[in-house]
């Protein structure tokens, strides 16, 4: 441990980060970590710089190390941490451990979500974003809006990915079924040609068989066409009940005011920080008055599962 303290190194790193020099910031955070390898917050700082550098894998390493270290931290409530992250695996149980309120660890979870998304690990991206959201909501953190957007972004990406897979599978299935019918038709035509004696009769029969199979194939293609058409069509605006009247996005965590109207938690809290009034009636309203609307939350979640495009329409 020579020269500067880890804190001084971190602060110098922050200055470079703010200036947009992420490479220099990352190097300084690395030095800070070498000087104080058990401070979890240094790892999220470095992860933040590495996010800017699109170094997704090392973002994930840093965040997992941060979560591991903070789960070991003795200062908070005595939660016996069981499994620590074994290398290579996907230990996102680490994020589910209870931690002290006000803990900054939502950042590690938030960055994990941001790193898993470009790596196309959609389930992890959604899962980490939701975990980060939960902590932000509990602590009324100002980053709640950004984290809420991340949840929606991940959900949309996951939905699009699943849709792509589904469409590809259906196309393959269509090809297979059509191919099977074709083969069957060829077989049938072969056997009919050997069985029939009369040339005219043979020709007649061949035509019948072929026509029957052609019709079947056309019908199969028509059915798949219908599905494709339906995919194109289902893009109406999302229903009003699912939309937050402030951000105009589908709600992730709706909370209800005294008037019975629900808003996205991030939006209404942002508004209440500026003005403690109900947006509709302008009567006094504080964050403490907000009540989670669980049924609406579930309905919005279900809607998004079916209509992931609406997560960022």
């Amino acid at each position: 441990m020579s020269g500067q303290s880890s804190l001084a190194l971190k602060e110098e790193g922050n200055r470079h980060f703010q200036r947009g020099d992420y490479v220099a910031a990352e190097a300084l955070y690395t030095k800070a970590i070498l000087a104080d390898p058990i401070n979890p917050l240094l790892y999220t700082n470095r992860a933040m710089a590495r996010l800017k550098m699109s170094r997704w894998d090392s973002v994930i390493e840093d965040c997992e190390e941060c979560l591991r270290l903070s789960s070991l931290a003795p200062s908070t409530t005595t939660t016996t941490s069981s499994s620590t992250s074994s290398s290579g695996g996907c230990p996102y149980m680490a994020g589910k451990k209870p931690r002290a309120p006000g803990s900054k660890n939502f950042k590690a979870l938030y960055y994990l979500s941001q790193a898993h998304l470009p790596l196309k690990n959609y389930d992890q991206a959604v899962d980490y974003a939701l975990q980060a959201h939960k902590i932000c909501a509990e602590t009324h953190d100002k980053s709640l809006a950004a984290v809420t957007s991340q949840v929606l972004k991940c959900k949309k990406a996951r939905w699009e990915h699943r849709e792509k897979l589904r469409r590809r599978e259906e196309q393959e299935l269509e090809g297979e079924v059509v191919e099977l019918l074709r083969k069957e038709m060829e077989e049938a035509l072969k056997t009919s040609s050997s069985a029939a004696s009369n040339d005219d009769e043979e020709e007649e029969e061949r035509k019948e068989t072929e026509k029957m199979y052609r019709e079947k194939i056309d019908r199969i293609i028509a059915v798949f066409d219908q599905v494709r058409e339906k995919d194109q069509r289902r893009r109406p605006n999302p229903p009003d009940w699912a939309i937050d009247g402030i951000s105009f996005q589908v709600m992730v965590d709706p909370v209800m005011t005294k008037t019975g109207k629900s808003y996205e938690r991030a939006s209404i809290e942002e508004h209440l920080r500026r003005s403690e009034t109900d947006p509709l009636t302008r009567t006094p309203l504080t964050i403490k008055d907000l009540v989670p609307n669980i049924d609406l939350k579930n309905a919005c979640e279900e809607f998004l599962n079916e209509n992931g495009w609406a997560a960022d329409w």
Binding site: N237, F248, E270
Partner: protein, 155 residues
């Protein structure tokens, strides 16, 4: 992590607007997410505003719709400033809905236009706010920084 409501929310407002606006309101331009122009007309036969079209300029900050937009009438050869006891002749509007206190994030570009439309519709006074001339001559402030005194809620 700054709050970035504005871009998404305005994008959605724009797509809604492009699907249609209420009668008498038209989008002129929305080339970016900072400044939009809209035209409004008064739809009844109020002689003060008959056959006229008025141009509104909306300016949005990064924290729209948590913060109100800045909304003013702009003057052009074919777009006068409507006469109204709450509208200064330089286009600045004194409406509590647009002030720091009266604004609510559930308002939108469309709802602001409709409010201004009905504010004109309901007006019978052919006059400017008191002290209009001095105000227009002296004012260097941005509309949002002016402390209006909402003295008259009947207009």
């Amino acid at each position: 992590m700054p709050v970035q409501f504005a871009a998404k929310r305005l994008g959605k407002e724009l797509s809604k607007i492009q699907n249609g606006l209420p009668p008498g309101i038209e989008l002129v331009s929305a080339d970016n997410l900072e400044e939009w122009l809209l035209d409004i007309k008064v739809l009844d036969n109020n002689p003060l505003y008959l056959n006229e079209t008025y141009r509104l300029k909306f300016r949005f900050s990064q924290s729209y719709p948590i913060e109100p937009p800045e909304v003013v009438f702009v003057k052009q050869t074919d777009r006068p400033i409507p006469i109204h006891p709450h509208i200064y002749s330089n286009g600045i509007i004194c409406l509590d809905l647009l002030g720091q206190q009266g604004w609510s994030p559930v308002q939108s570009v469309e709802s602001v236009c409709m409010s201004l439309q009905s504010m004109l519709t309901g007006n019978t006074k052919d006059e400017r706010p008191p002290g209009d001339e001095e105000f227009v001559r002296g004012n260097k402030q941005r509309p949002k920084d002016i402390e209006f005194y909402y003295h008259d809620n009947t207009v």
